[in-house]
């Protein structure tokens, strides 16, 4: 079709074009455009822009069909600047989903010169968001213009994606055929490996995968084999995530470099074996090994590579490298002085077997070594385990180790020291900030007690000011408008709501009534805090706010000095106030009784109040009398949980708790409930508190009681591979009261927890108990042996925990536990999974702490035939004990 020439004809042609746009007929737009020359097209542009604006505003009735597409095509024909054109094509408001229509757009730009088309193609390829989906258009533009390929990664990415489109639907088509036919393949494949973001396409498996296609094309000569090889190796050297490198490694394997090709990339194999991800390193190590065998890798370079590989933590790589070195040294004795010193790198390896292998190699080859080499090895021997060191000392004629023979003392962390609670805030705004932080959750007992103390004191002094400061804080709490929820959902909130007047006597009474019938053990410890807050609230509501609290501890672990309590009671007496019962009861439970003096007793009696007398008696009796905790093994009746049903068939060990007459008879109800007896086999209540740290602060001197409650839930979590709460063991281990069999059983469970973080917490608790000098290895060991036999604790998990604890220097502590655990395992006929690992830890410990006697049954076990790790480590342990 010719372009219109007469003014009327031109006018008519322009109108037809715009009409086609309004009609939404892109194919017709292409036809109409052919009748317009450049000037006419330019003249249309303002109207097109106006139409675009109208379209954007969604004017009904003006458009039909596909107006957006028609506008895009019309714009493609009328825009004269390349940059303006590209922004028109890619405009968000004009673009639908999917690629631009190639034929129409090419048709609209039919008259443009090649340079301009190339420019447009390059600009399109530069937009990362759309270059991939519009790859076909870019290709078509380049085909027509014959211009150079764009430099950017996006173009290559688009090419890769477009190659795979629709392959699955056409069985007669294959990726190899497509690539073979595509003239760009040769140019783009070397660039392909440097582009990020195509690993998913390249990692495709199956008959149409890139990993099959590219090596095949290199074999046919379509691709330059040497170039492809270089590009792949270069990509591996540059590195990246293992998943992204996998296709390159796969292709490299398929290409199978010949000896000559491999030799050219010697430096790359060396670098990859040293720093590549383990799969790549293994391949590079294999290649380097082949070169070493043919003599292409000289001894100096081999020593250099080996030093790097032996530094890695993949056991397999280290083992293979040791074998490689062994062969190299046997091949050429003259290389020994160069190669042997690198063995020293392995001496410090975690895996004892590798270090042993290195020592064996040294012993074997030492006769070929020179003095410098011997010296280096002697220096490296410092990090060897004692037994291996002794072996090396013989041949190297090392001086006897000064400290190696004697037993090493345990390095334990310092025993926990409680911190003073710190001064409470006094300014209402400061208190409001502390309260807001507490309501946000996750704060410690010390933070809680400090904030409550500050709140009570401020409410006593100037309730108005405090209420004004607290009101905005409370307004954010959803329950502020629902006072009936106050008791159930908040802790400090009860006191805050009373201070601000959000709850009054009526609401409190209603809320307490709702709670009262729920007097079971469930959440019983949490309810102590609730009861204390209610006391504060009532005092405020009654207009007689407490001057301060009696139970606020002196120390962060929840303990209270007798002198402090006596002073506080004296101040109450002076002010003529009667202590609140739960507050006083809690104060008694927190007061320290192990350091009391006659003076304290006299001072308490001198108060001449009922509380003073009670305190004196309490102190004289030594606090809360102990209560019975009985270990029992049995089955817990299934409660119908499908996930617990199977576990419930197996017998489990728990403790039952006797009643405490003292608590039940002489304390207010909220505390008396803690005195009930508890039997986890029949009770079904596992939940006494949300945070064990808070429970320990209620009963700081009886961690065993708290542990009985918590054991029911924690043991179940371990039995079902659940998550534990990290802080709880530490809180129990650090509690000032004496720990006993219940805490030990809990620890035994936690040492075999499924999750590494939980085991870390268990190791912490073990070390804290040891540092405090209250760890009973006999009890813990017996519990562990029992749990292992029952399958609750897996040996591999226990090995990890104990190994971690031992490596920090607690060799003796860990050995003392293992010495109890091992006899039962060694005597058993059962094949224990992971026993070798546990024996390794035991041998490590024994070599350092030099115990007098070994576990029963070790000799018999070590004398068994076979070379399994367990038997080998048993022999090592025996040697350590004998030496």
């Amino acid at each position: 079709m010719k372009t219109a020439t007469t003014p009327g004809g031109r006018e008519f042609a322009r109108e037809r074009l715009l009409a086609a746009v309004r009609e939404g007929k892109p194919h017709e737009v292409v036809v109409r455009l052919r009748m317009l020359d450049d000037a006419d097209r330019r003249a249309c542009l303002p109207v097109l822009k106006q139409l675009r604006e109208n379209l954007r505003q969604g004017r009904p009735g003006e458009f039909r069909g596909q107006p957006r597409l028609a506008l895009v095509v019309a714009g493609a024909g009328c825009q004269t600047g390349a940059a303006a054109l590209v922004s028109w094509l890619l405009a968000r408001d004009l673009r639908g989903f999917g690629p631009l229509p190639v034929d129409w757009i090419l048709g609209a730009m039919g008259h443009r010169d090649p340079q301009w088309l190339t420019d447009v193609a390059h600009r399109l390829a530069g937009h990362s968001a759309t270059a991939v989906e519009n790859h076909d258009l870019i290709r078509a533009l380049l085909d027509r213009s014959g211009g150079p390929l764009p430099d950017g990664d996006e173009f290559v990415r688009g090419w890769v994606v477009s190659q795979a489109v629709g392959l699955r639907m056409r069985p007669d088509d294959s990726l190899v055929d497509r690539l073979r036919a595509d003239p760009l393949t040769r140019a783009l494949v070397p660039r392909l490996v440097a582009v990020s973001g195509v690993s998913r396409e390249l990692a495709w498996t199956g008959s149409d995968s890139w990993t099959l296609a590219l090596p095949a094309l290199a074999g046919e000569g379509v691709l330059d084999r040497a170039e492809l090889l270089g590009a792949l190796i270069g990509a591996l050297v540059r590195g990246g995530r293992p998943a992204a490198l996998r296709p390159f490694l796969e292709m490299l394997r398929r290409l199978a470099p010949s000896d000559r090709e491999s030799k050219e990339h010697l430096a790359a194999w060396a670098a990859l074996a040293a720093d590549g991800p383990s799969t790549v390193a293994a391949y590079a190590q294999e290649k380097a090994g082949e070169l070493a065998a043919t003599g292409d890798l000289d001894a100096a370079r081999l020593a250099d590579v080996s030093a790097a590989v032996l530094c890695r933590n993949e056991k397999k790589l280290v083992r293979t490298q040791l074998g490689l070195l062994d062969r190299a040294m046997r091949r050429n004795r003259a290389d020994v002085p160069l190669l042997l010193p690198v063995m020293g790198t392995v001496f410090g390896h975690e895996d004892e077997a590798l270090a042993e292998r290195a020592v064996k190699l040294v012993v074997k080859q030492l006769k070929h070594a020179d003095p410098a080499c011997r010296e280096e090895l002697a220096a490296a021997a410092v990090v060897l385990a004692p037994a291996l060191r002794a072996r090396l000392a013989e041949v190297l004629e090392l001086p006897d180790a000064v400290d190696g023979e004697g037993a090493e003392a345990d390095l334990l962390p310092p025993p926990p020291a409680p911190e003073p609670l710190g001064a409470p805030a006094t300014d209402p705004a400061g208190i409001a900030a502390e309260v807001a932080a507490l309501m946000a959750g996750g704060r410690s007992v010390a933070d809680f007690e400090r904030a409550v103390d500050a709140l009570v004191r401020a409410a006593h002094q100037d309730r108005e000011a405090l209420a004004a400061a607290l009101t905005p804080v409370l307004r954010r709490q959803w329950w502020a408008e629902h006072p009936e929820y106050v008791l159930r959902h908040t802790r400090i909130g009860i006191a805050v709501a009373a201070v601000t007047g959000h709850v009054g006597a009526a609401e409190m009474r209603l809320a307490e009534q709702n709670e009262r019938h729920n007097a079971s053990l469930y959440a019983s410890v949490d309810k102590v805090y609730t009861a204390r807050m209610c006391e504060i609230a009532w005092a405020v509501i009654d207009g007689l706010p407490l001057p301060f609290l009696l139970a606020t501890p002196d120390w962060s672990d929840g303990t209270l000095e007798p002198a402090t309590l006596i002073d506080r009671l004296a101040a109450y007496a002076t002010a003529g106030r009667t202590p609140a019962p739960v507050d006083f009861g809690q104060a008694l439970l927190r007061v320290r009784t192990d350091t009391i003096t006659q003076q304290d007793l006299t001072a308490a009696l001198a108060l001449r109040t009922a509380e003073g007398v009670r305190l004196a008696e309490w102190l004289a009796r030594g606090g809360l009398p102990g209560r019975s905790a009985e270990r029992r093994t049995g089955r817990i009746a299934s409660r119908g949980h499908y996930w617990a049903a199977r576990r419930d068939e197996a017998p489990v060990t728990r403790f039952t708790l006797g009643a405490s007459t003292e608590l039940r008879r002489h304390f207010p109800p909220a505390l008396a409930v803690l005195g009930h007896s508890y039997d986890p086999f029949t009770s079904g209540i596992f939940w006494h508190t949300g945070r064990i740290e808070y429970a320990c602060a209620v009963l700081p001197y009886t961690p065993e009681t708290v542990a009985v409650w918590r054991l029911a839930g924690l043991a179940r979590d371990v039995e079902t591979d659940g998550r534990l709460s990290l802080g709880e063991l530490r809180a129990l281990a650090e509690a000032p009261g004496s720990v006993g069999p219940v805490v030990h059983l809990m620890l035994a469970h936690a040492l075999g927890a499924r999750h590494a973080e939980d085991r870390l917490g268990a190791a912490d608790a073990l070390l804290v108990l040891a540092a405090r000098g209250v760890l009973d290895p006999e009890t813990l060991g017996a519990d562990l042996a029992d749990l292992i036999a029952r399958g609750t604790v897996k040996i591999t998990r226990l090995t990890d925990t104990l190994g971690n604890a031992a490596r920090t220097g607690a060799w003796g502590t860990v050995w003392s536990v293992l010495a109890v655990v091992l006899p039962q395992l060694l005597a058993s006929e059962q094949q224990w999974t992971g026993l070798g690992g546990l024996l390794t830890v035991a041998a490590d410990c024994a070599e350092r702490c030099r115990p007098a006697a070994g576990p029963r049954g070790l000799d018999a076990y070590a004398d068994r035939s076979g070379g399994s790790q367990a038997v080998r480590q048993a022999r090592r342990l025996r040697a350590a004990l004998g030496g």
Binding site: S196, N313, D427, A429, G430, A433, M439, P472, T808
Partner: protein
């Protein structure tokens, strides 16, 4: 997230080429600033490296961090490293795309065989062929380093050949600057020898921790870092152990590892930490944020410096006096500026937030460098500061003695000052308790107290 773009124009690509006496490592430069103002393609150094392979490994480690994104690792990082010439040393720095890891390689005077460097800061081009060549460096190859274009070589008349257009997210620039401010509070916590360092770094998991809980490491005798589940005094926080992976490359050349961190209390929340691998004549330091998902940009250290009223003016004065010193001596600077030491320190902190000063934990000293980015913009558009300004400008702040009341969206928050520390009743403060700098309410109160904005009439005293 606001992002600006920056174009780096290098004369040619950096390359490692064979030369008459060993390899020639030509690192190309672009942009930045020196004592005489803005730079085009500055030349900082030319001379042999004392330890070629450790230097190459360190440089690659810095480049690795620049290209990394440890949080949501799909997207690649974006920028070339930055190099600073301090006269006696070269410092290569980079910052990960996720804003959580800062890496710095200090090539000290022994590493440069005593040769001097020019003064200034600029970008260096790192490209794929160069990375390959550095990885393939042989054990005994001598290496001549040239930072900057070769003045002898005939430059092409057409002008810059290698142009890199890089996006520059504001939070990235902010985080880069804030790292220095946090590091200034670090102390040495542990020192490991080469064998112990190798053993420790090898024991770390390599896979992504997916933002799992941070672990605490307590230095124990014998160069052991004992893992604990909870913070205890003296412990260092290691969040996302896989982020130390960049050290692995240089591990075999290491002579030791030093670990730095701020003082922590028992049960403390995660904090930042610095890990310094000592190499012969060099130091490679990684500074890690308190959590994989937490960039340095939100740590708010910049905002703390607003507490000192004169800091901004002092910073301006100090900025003029600095001349790319390798160690900024506070006493000397105090003398030259006529300010007391405390004000100099506060002013330096302020400079740190805009990337105009770095902090070297190994020497416990600031050094002068100027990040070659538009740091002012990033700082001005700091979201928390911007919100605080809006609050203050809208007249939402009422002062009552030590307490400030801020009306934000109909809710009144109370900002209280106790012993110089601000607390607020907003949920954000409740969550972090000042661990990530002041909240916008506290900032607004500060701004009003400093007189930048007027408080609401009536309550002001």
């Amino acid at each position: 997230m606001t992002t600006s773009a920056m174009t780096l124009a290098y004369q040619r690509a950096s390359a490692l080429e064979p030369g008459p006496r060993g390899g020639l490592l030509g690192l190309q430069t672009a942009g930045g600033a020196g004592p005489r103002g803005a730079l085009g393609n500055p030349q900082f150094f030319s001379g042999f490296l004392a330890q070629p392979r450790p230097a190459a490994a360190g440089l690659l480690a810095v480049a690795d961090v620049a290209a990394a994104r440890y949080y949501q690792p799909e997207r690649r990082g974006l920028l070339d490293p930055v190099v600073t010439g301090n006269g006696d040393r070269l410092r290569f720095e980079s910052f990960s795309g996720c804003c959580g890891v800062h890496a710095r390689l200090d090539v000290l005077t022994e590493g440069l065989e005593g040769r001097e460097t020019e003064h200034g800061t600029t970008n260096v081009d790192i490209n794929n062929p160069l990375r390959e060549a550095l990885s393939l460096l042989g054990p005994d190859d001598p290496l001549h380093l040239r930072v900057g274009p070769d003045e002898m070589a005939v430059t092409t008349a057409a002008g810059p050949v290698v142009e890199k257009k890089v996006p520059l997210p504001d939070r990235w620039v902010r985080g880069f600057g804030e790292t220095q401010v946090l590091a200034a509070a670090f102390d040495l916590r542990a020192e490991l020898n080469a064998a112990q360092a190798a053993r420790f770094l090898r024991s770390l998991p390599t896979g992504s921790s997916r933002g799992g809980t941070a672990r605490w490491l307590l230095p124990a005798p014998g160069g052991v870092l004992r893992a604990t589940a909870r913070a205890v005094p003296g412990a260092v926080c290691l969040a996302g152990p896989e982020r130390l992976g960049a050290l692995r490359r240089a591990l075999r050349h290491a002579t030791g590892l030093r670990v730095y961190g701020p003082a922590v209390r028992a049960g403390s929340d995660p904090v930042a930490s610095a890990w310094e691998l000592t190499l012969p004549g060099m130091r490679l330091t990684l500074t890690l944020s308190p959590a994989v998902a937490r960039g340095f940009s939100g740590e708010g250290a910049v905002l703390e410096s607003l507490a000192v009223e004169t800091a901004a003016e002092d910073a301006e004065l100090l900025g003029v006096l600095l001349a790319w010193e390798p160690r900024v001596e506070v006493a000397e600077l105090a003398e030259r500026s006529g300010l007391d030491a405390a004000r100099v320190r506060a002013g330096l902190t302020m400079l740190g937030t805009s990337g105009r000063i770095g902090y070297d934990v190994a020497e416990a000293a600031y050094y002068h460098r100027e990040l070659p980015y538009d740091t002012g913009r990033a700082e001005r558009s700091n979201p928390r500061l911007r919100d605080a300004r809006e609050l203050a400008a809208a007249g939402s702040v009422t002062l009552q003695g030590a307490t400030g009341r801020v009306d934000s969206g109909g809710t009144v928050y109370q900002v209280h000052e106790r012993d110089g520390a601000l607390s607020c009743t907003c949920p954000w403060w409740g969550k972090y308790r000042g661990g990530r700098g002041p909240c916008k309410h506290a900032l607004a109160v500060r701004l009003v107290r400093r007189g930048e904005f007027a408080a609401v009439a009536g309550g002001t005293r």
